[in-house]
């Protein structure tokens, strides 16, 4: 497949060039989506904050034993967001929590989309009983209440970040599988697939070199959207006490707040920041995902 063409440029270079051009075109169209740009900016800021968090807050921020303040102080110059029931600085905790929330959200979404893509592409490529069985399983997962299943999984496994990632990842893949399968079916009817097959391309070759590059844009949009629900799901699991109790996350902070009686005491300043953080990040990912989707699928462009 890799013989050089008559013009002297190798097909590989040609493909790379074409890919670069399409990325540039994508970016040009994406820039026109105002909401998508807001989302992207917010995400960049959050990502920077999470990456460089160790520069502003020490890793001992979650230490209960040598907390800097008195318990449950309201916001002041020293502690801009107040302190929690152990006297820990809430601003530091919220900043530190972004690391876990973003990491778990990303990993869970990657796992979910990876499963979905694998099942979607294979079910679209191999027809017959394999596809039937896979799509039955997918449909079944699709009607299951995702969170209930995730909760059940998290309950029976040990409390750790891996558990949270797995519980979210293995329950949210069906929508991706459906979408990817539909796209695979569409791609496989194109003549170049037939050509590849006629030239002796095997299943693996066709799926990895021809189908996968064509479903990737869809997968990208789907990942962005799933990250947003994965972050919400992580917060939910942590809030229900099913997260890793040793790490600081936004959902975990809300659970701490509730257990410390912040609600009945009316200590709104304890509850507001972690919730806003979750909402901002989830909204940012949703906006980006919708923007990517409307660029890729102009039919949906109107519904932006």
């Amino acid at each position: 497949m890799t013989t050089t063409t008559g013009t002297g440029t190798s097909p590989r270079a040609l493909a790379r060039q074409r890919r670069r051009a399409s990325v540039a075109r994508f970016w040009r169209q994406y820039r026109a989506e105002r909401a998508g740009l807001y989302g992207l900016t917010a995400l960049a800021l959050c990502a920077l904050l999470a990456l460089f968090a160790p520069l502003f807050v020490g890793s001992d921020v979650s230490s209960v034993t040598d907390a800097p303040g008195r318990p449950m102080q309201s916001p002041s110059a020293e502690f801009p967001l107040g302190t929690d029931q152990f006297g820990r600085d809430l601003l530091g905790l919220v900043v530190w929590g972004s690391r876990v929330s973003l990491l778990v959200g990303l990993l869970a979404a990657v796992l979910s989309v990876a499963i979905g893509t694998l099942i979607g592409v294979t079910a679209g490529h191999f027809r017959g009983w394999y596809a039937t069985v896979m799509m039955r399983i997918t449909d079944w997962f699709l009607v299951m209440p995702t969170l209930v299943l995730a909760i059940a999984l998290a309950t029976v496994m040990s409390r750790s970040l891996t558990t949270t990632v797995v519980a979210i990842g293995v329950t949210t893949w069906p929508t991706t599988a459906r979408l990817v399968r539909a796209q695979t079916l569409a791609v496989e009817t194109r003549p170049y697939i037939e050509r590849a097959r006629a030239l002796g391309g095997g299943h693996w070759h066709i799926m990895s070199r021809h189908v996968l590059p064509n479903v990737m844009p869809l997968v990208l949009a789907q990942t962005t959207l799933i990250i947003s629900s994965a972050i919400l799901a992580e917060a939910t699991l942590a809030f229900l006490g099913l997260g890793d109790p040793t790490v600081v996350s936004w959902g975990g902070l809300l659970q701490d707040a509730r257990e410390a009686g912040a609600v009945s005491a009316g200590d709104w300043w304890y509850l507001v920041p972690p919730g806003i953080a979750i909402a901002v990040v989830a909204l940012a990912f949703t906006l980006c995902g919708r923007a990517v989707e409307s660029v890729l699928n102009p039919r949906l462009g109107v519904s932006r």
Partner: protein
Amino acid sequence: MTADATPALAEDKHTAAGPRVRKGSAYPRYLAGKVAGAAVSLLAVLVTSFFLFRLIPGDPVKTMTGGRQVSAEQLAAYREEFGLDLPLWRQFTDYCGKALTGDFGTSYQFRAPVVDKITEALPNTLLLTGTAFVLYTALGIFLGTRSAWRHGKLGDRVNTGLALTLYSIPSFWLGLLLIIVLSVGIGPIPGMFPTGGMESGGKEGFAYVLDVAHHLVLPVVTLVAVEYGQTLLVTRSALLDEMGSDYLTTARAKGLRDDLVRRRHAVPNALLPTVTLIFINLGRTVAGVILVETVFSWPGLGGLFYQALSVPDLPLVQGLFFVFAAAVIVMNTLADLVYPLLDPRVAR
């Protein structure tokens, strides 16, 4: 979920136009197929609930006793009580047999049959969910229609933006904030609503109904706020799909008022895909209910689930898991059954 609603729409059309149309079968056959499919799904849920809570690493008895000091005899007694001393296949057949007769075992925490706890809590959940469901569906369809009809205008952007924002807010957080602001009260705002529960007690007749309604306000507001966005977006994109249709141009050419074109022509057609999606999205509502009931100490299935999780009370978790999954499957099947009555093209 918001944005994948639209691709799901396209996907739905693919499948709806697939084998059913080709077979040329009529409604009874379609009905039988759907009901059989639901029965298989329910059976799969039953099997999952068994293996999920039994085969995953760890001794269920150890989990049940939650690290407390328990003697070997007590462990053996627990094993016998929960039938864990039997071989796995016997446990499985026992479980399925009992579950089919409505017996999900004994709650470890309450020492009462799981079924009793569930039937006790069910009406409360139905009251909360039913009220919220009616309100958020109506609100979502109403605002979604407005939004699509004037798409791109300021009103549409505000509507969609607000829906997306509320959709990104964790429901439990919104609930907690509403409690702080409206129940506990901050600053000049007095506490107007109860902080939780379903009744204050000691009331009868009409006063009791009013009291329950008073307790119902905040949980319903929370659920509606986080759920209506989805219905709005689904309705909006379904209506946008119809907007370019020729029959709308015809209706306008006849001289019908804009309002009539929308209500009589566009909306009924746009509602078809919306109906299915509303029911498919019920799974999300179940999740919302669990959280909202937990936050507002509402004595329903969701609150019970949370209590069962914190122990963890496996028989109760297992029973509730089945009920939640079954509820969604049954609702989805109902939607499938109603759909051909609304759109005769489907079952033909």
